[in-house]
């Protein structure tokens, strides 16, 4: 059966129903079997390590050394919030490497789902900034660590300089600005939004678990909710909305602002007078990691200078390898809100703190109810 011939027959109106159905059947069979055959062709997929990460980190640019060694980047699985990721893994989802942040790390360790990272197996470990390793709850037995720090950055407000009329200083109030009702966006995960709410409500990070803090933060989140066009975990949605002018300001991470600026969209990553939310994220190895050797290659790849330079240059995040910063001058780094001395940036903002599981669950429950309008 010739495809071109069939098309000709259709054009001339000569195609019988039986022939047409036959053609459709053939196309259907071809389409149905395509995934099966192509998967068989890429038999090595199962042998690659799986990296369970936030959206935006699932790109080959961060895995150049890995790709050089194994010929293909690792497999990716994506989550929108670290609590969602932990729940999924507790439910039996096995990955090799996962990507939590400092505030979740102790709870992730407690879950018993992870194994310590043998730092001696990482070729880039010597260049990792020690202040990022020395996070509360990170030391495992024998000088090993639970989480290898990878990226650090801020959660703040990205706003359109041409659409958002700034009154006074940059501030978290921008996301509570009634003038822009329906033109503000927010990250959907309580892991970011609730903490930003705490900064807005004037709650100190060490008091975030108190009853009073809960009431205060819930109140500001309820106040904000009618102004928000969409809560999303998908940073692309926020970036597109900012670039089209659908939103005038949104809560984002560094990368959204940097990406939009590189596309020529007039946006700025605010330095709120109250301080931005700061965090350090890293990678942990699952206790049942099916491809342990490759899991270490994933980590080594993430910690490499190549990945670091990409993170700084293209995403505007801080990296944990101190050598990554050598390619950039102080001016560029300051423009990105970064520094060779991460402590400076992290302490200037409000650093997330680890909380108990009860707090985390209660916070998520409350925030989800608020988002649903209650």
């Amino acid at each position: 059966m010739d495809v071109v011939d069939q098309l000709g027959a259709v054009r001339e109106g000569k195609l019988s129903r039986r022939k047409f159905t036959k053609g459709l059947l053939a196309a259907g069979v071809a389409m149905a079997t395509m995934p099966a055959t192509s998967r068989r062709a890429m038999a090595s997929v199962d042998d690659e390590a799986t990296f369970f990460t936030w959206g935006g980190y699932d790109i080959p640019e961060l895995f150049q050394p890995y790709e050089a060694k194994h010929g293909t980047p690792p497999n990716f699985a994506i989550f929108g919030g670290s609590e969602e990721a932990l729940t999924k893994m507790r439910g039996g989802f096995v990955v090799d490497v996962a990507h939590p942040c400092n505030s979740g790390m102790p709870r992730w360790v407690q879950s018993g789902l992870f194994q310590p990272i043998e730092t001696s197996r990482l070729s880039n470990w010597a260049d990792v900034m020690p202040e990022l390793v020395a996070l509360p709850g990170n030391d495992a037995e024998g000088g090993n660590v639970w989480m290898a720090p990878f990226d650090w950055g801020q959660t703040s407000v990205t706003y359109r300089t041409d659409l958002y009329e700034l009154e006074g200083e940059e501030s978290w109030d921008m996301l509570w600005d009634k003038r822009y009702a329906g033109r503000l966006g927010s990250l959907a995960s309580g892991g970011d939004a609730w903490w930003c709410g705490a900064i807005k409500a004037g709650v100190a990070m060490e008091d975030i678990a108190t009853e009073e803090a809960f009431t205060k933060i819930a109140a500001v989140m309820r106040e904000q909710r009618p102004l928000i066009r969409v809560y999303t975990d998908d940073t692309t949605t926020l970036e597109q909305a900012l670039s089209s002018g659908e939103m005038a300001a949104a809560m984002t991470w560094n990368s959204s602002a940097v990406l939009l600026q590189s596309e020529g969209v007039p946006v700025k990553f605010a330095r709120p007078k109250e301080g931005a939310l700061t965090w350090v994220c890293g990678v942990m190895v699952h206790k049942d990691a099916p491809n342990l050797d490759r899991a270490y290659d994933v980590i080594d790849s993430l910690l490499s200078v190549e990945s670091g330079q990409f993170m700084i240059n293209d995403y505007g995040y801080g990296h944990s390898n101190r050598k990554s910063f050598d390619a950039f001058n102080e001016e560029t780094l300051a423009g990105l809100g970064l520094s060779k001395n991460p402590q400076e940036i992290l302490e200037a903002g409000h650093m997330q703190r680890p909380q108990t599981q009860e707090w985390e669950t209660r916070m998520n429950e409350t925030f989800e109810q608020i988002k649903a309008g209650f």
Binding site: R17, L24, E84, G182, N364, E368, A372, G373
Partner: protein, 312 residues
């Protein structure tokens, strides 16, 4: 065809072990119930493993409660009382029924004329018409939802079209991230499930009944309401169920297009199993949703049957 193949297999296996086959065949021949169960057994097996067992797990879990990351397995109706007492659950259920109810009505109303046209006015290549109508549904559900995001978006097809014509000056914001967006998308995404049953029931209508009605003096309108509509009722009911039941619990459409006010119960159930991490509550919500859907379906069936009786 079936007859010949049956006799062939019998003929082939008969010499090998005649008495045994004969006995089994005899039992099968005499016992109609057994034959029925045997024919159903592959389906029943899948239903048991794939639906009944998970349903029982869900049911039992809905009477548990959360305890940290684990479950407190003492049976209690705590979750059910919470669903009853806290307004959020009722409101989300109500919203879900409203959205999917409107979507169902819109879908059936839009698909009925299409099915009607093919059933009564197309005489050649009917199959081709049906295939062409259902062609958009050969793409993935997710892709269709994303396509609607592009169409309804701030700089989407509708907004930029209207703006270039000069009808509106600023993009219409209610199009995306709203209940309207969810309803529009659901109505389109599930159209295939309405067209097919409607077409089948309309196609089955005996045309001589219509001629008889005309002979007896009915105009086109009266003929439609007295003959066509009542006789196509099974198709309408089937289409309604096929759309209403799955869309009520739909997750991906409201998640992508709903915005804060368009969230439905399916999204909340997902959150219970995800970020909120309260699996028993998620199970309870699923059960409550199922009960409500069954209740609504029964009421709907009862009402349509009564209406049909009255027409007849």
């Amino acid at each position: 065809m079936a007859d010949t193949s049956l006799s062939q297999t019998e003929a082939r296996s008969a010499p090998a072990a005649p008495p045994r086959v004969g006995r089994i065949a005899g039992i099968l021949h005499r016992n109609e119930t057994l034959r029925g169960y045997l024919l159903m057994s592959p389906t029943m097996l899948i239903m048991t493993i794939g639906i009944l067992v998970p349903f029982l797990i869900l049911l039992v879990m809905s009477f548990w409660t959360r305890e940290g990351f684990g479950f407190d397995t003492t049976l209690t109706a705590h979750n059910y009382t919470r669903v009853w007492n806290e307004p959020i659950f009722g409101a989300l259920l109500q919203r879900s029924f409203w959205i999917s109810g409107v979507a169902t009505v819109v879908t059936v109303a839009l698909c009925y004329p299409m099915a009607y046209y093919v059933a009564f006015h197309v005489h050649r290549n009917k199959m081709m018409w049906i295939i062409l109508m259902t062609l958009p549904f050969w793409t993935s559900y997710l892709l269709r939802v994303f396509a609607w995001k592009v169409i309804l978006g701030y700089q989407g097809v509708i907004n930029s079209g209207l703006m270039s014509v000069g009808v509106i000056e600023a993009p219409l914001e209610f199009l995306l991230y709203s209940q309207t967006a969810v309803i529009i998308t659901l109505a389109h995404a599930w159209a295939a499930f309405a067209i097919l049953p409607l077409y089948v029931s309309l196609e089955k209508i005996d045309k001589s009944l219509l001629e008889a009605a005309t002979d007896l003096g009915d105009g086109p309108m009266a003929r439609f309401f007295r003959i066509t509509l009542p006789l196509s009722m099974p198709g309408i009911i089937a289409a309604t169920f096929l759309i209403f039941i799955p869309t009520t619990g739909d997750y991906i459409t409201p998640a992508l297009l709903g915005g804060p006010d368009g969230a439905m119960i399916g999204n909340f159930i997902q959150l219970q199993f995800g970020a909120i991490n309260n699996w028993p509550m998620g199970a309870t919500l699923s059960i409550v949703l199922m009960l409500w859907i069954s209740a609504i379906a029964l009421v709907f069936l009862f009402v349509t049957r009564k209406a049909q009786e009255r027409i007849a």
